[in-house]
């Protein structure tokens, strides 16, 4: 009686969900699809939801999906958001590589390091978007994309929290 009360709560039927291995990638595709939201903005200050979901997953776990899946996921993001085809393919693959290198170098991880890494990655994303837009004939001052970066940085904790909840749900914890 006493022993059973002390035992950890372990309910029957709780375990990883079916297709748990595909849920992270599916959430990234869903986040890319958020671009279909009927938001008509004339400033472009909304974050790149697909990229936010990607780095939230990758910073939470080292193995949300095989690393090379970043390329097809990026292609999906390019097609949904209307970025030049190949932009997210390149950036997302490079992000996976960079974070693998960072994983080897960092001794420990805490929330501030993750936020800092996210800041660097989001800034790289905005800067590359600005650069590619300039190459394709739309040279806007860099100050115009800074608000988008700040908003993305403020939204990253929310995205990281949502992703951690989804991770616990898919693993049945």
């Amino acid at each position: 009686m006493v022993r059973s009360a002390l035992a950890t709560k372990r309910r029957i039927g709780q375990g990883p969900k079916p297709f748990a291995g595909y849920i992270p990638a599916a959430t990234v595709v869903f986040a890319s699809f958020l671009t279909a939201l009927p938001v008509i903005s004339t400033s472009g200050w909304y974050p790149d939801f697909g990229f936010l979901a990607l780095i939230s997953w990758r910073l939470l776990r080292s193995d949300p999906w095989p690393a090379w899946w970043a390329a097809p996921l990026g292609l999906v993001n390019d097609l949904f958001t209307g970025f030049p085809v190949g932009f997210s393919v390149t950036l997302w693959s490079a992000t996976m590589l960079a974070l693998d290198l960072v994983d080897r170098r960092t001794m420990w991880r805490d929330y501030w390091i993750e936020w800092g890494l996210a800041a660097v990655l989001l800034a790289a994303n905005e800067w590359l978007q600005w650069r590619v837009a300039a190459l394709s004939g739309a040279r806007v001052p860099f100050l115009a994309v800074v608000p988008a970066l700040v908003i993305g940085l403020c939204i990253f904790p929310i995205s990281a929290w949502v992703v951690s909840r989804i991770d616990r749900w898919r693993l049945g914890r």
Partner: protein, 291 residues
């Protein structure tokens, strides 16, 4: 790949190594795709159009919900100051009536003069009518998603306008939806002129919802606050005499203007055939500067 070696399993080691090689391959593949889409934007039109067919219907079904919610808000605020608004509208109406009679007289005179000149008249043809259902809200480019596609006859390169003014031109067309390069995009350059005086100017988007207008001839800044910019029809793509923007701020050699057709507020946009297709064909490809 948290650690360099996953353990002693050969299979796991090879798995990681090949995944790493595939990632490098993906990176190179992405670079090639990016270079292609920057150098030859027309390459990916088919696949981009197919992706639009996935997003445009979802956006257009959700758009109905947001318009209702926005309508509730603005409807309630309209009741708030109904009396003062009513008086203002009555004053405006009488002023408008007077101007309309003048305009009718001018129109008749214009018809007679044109008949004298035997000017070839373009009747405005409408290819399709669609709603603006989405936008590129996460990029420095200014695109909008229109709920009309090749099934309705929309083709890449066609100009888009609304009752208020010029919206932009089509750059991607799927079967059910299309993507519009708005006049406020940096890469969209529209030959235009000042309504007051007819001085030729160039309108170029600023990427933040406003437009830069510059006079073609260097000299005194011709703009005044409140000036209306209209298309000139030069280049053959956009029809002439379509209002584009209103000047709100002057700067040293030009002015900043706000588009008259706010993509967030226009309910319908019409797609028209290019004004002078022959003139466009003789130039370089018109959508050279889009991704």
């Amino acid at each position: 790949m948290a650690t360099a070696r996953p353990g002693w399993s050969r299979r796991a080691q090879y798995g990681l190594f090949f995944s790493f090689l595939a990632l490098i391959a993906g990176l190179l593949f992405g670079l090639i795709l990016l270079a292609l889409s920057l150098l030859a934007p027309a390459k990916f039109q088919q696949i981009r159009g197919a992706a639009l067919d996935l997003t445009a219907p979802a956006a257009s079904s959700l758009r109905g919900v947001t318009t209702t919610v926005e309508g509730l808000g603005s409807g309630a605020s309209d009741y708030w100051d109904a009396t003062s608004q009513n008086g203002e509208l009555k004053r405006e109406r009488t002023a408008m009536l007077r101007r309309m009679v003048e305009a009718k007289a001018i129109f008749q005179e214009n018809q007679q003069l044109k008949a004298l000149l035997h000017l070839r008249e373009h009747e405005p043809a409408t290819v399709a009518i669609g709603r603006v259902v989405g936008s590129s809200f996460n990029s420095p480019r200014r695109f909008a998603i229109l709920s009309a596609g090749t099934r309705d006859g929309v083709q890449v390169g066609m100009p888009v306008r609304s009752a208020d003014g010029l919206v932009g031109r089509i750059i991607d067309a799927g079967a059910l939806g299309s993507r519009v390069l708005l006049v406020s995009d940096r890469a969209n350059i529209v030959p235009a002129r000042l309504l007051r005086g007819g001085m030729p100017v160039i309108s170029q988007g600023r990427g933040d919802g406003t437009i830069d207008v510059r006079p073609l001839e260097v000299g005194r800044n011709p703009f005044r606050r409140g000036d209306i910019i209209i298309t000139s029809g030069t280049g053959g793509l956009y029809p002439p005499l379509v209002p584009i923007a209103r000047v709100v701020k002057l700067d040293d050699d030009g002015a900043v203007a706000v588009p008259l057709a706010d993509p967030a507020n226009i309910s319908f946009a019409t797609v028209e055939p290019p004004y002078e297709p022959a003139a466009i064909d003789s130039q370089a490809s018109p959508d050279q500067d889009v991704p």
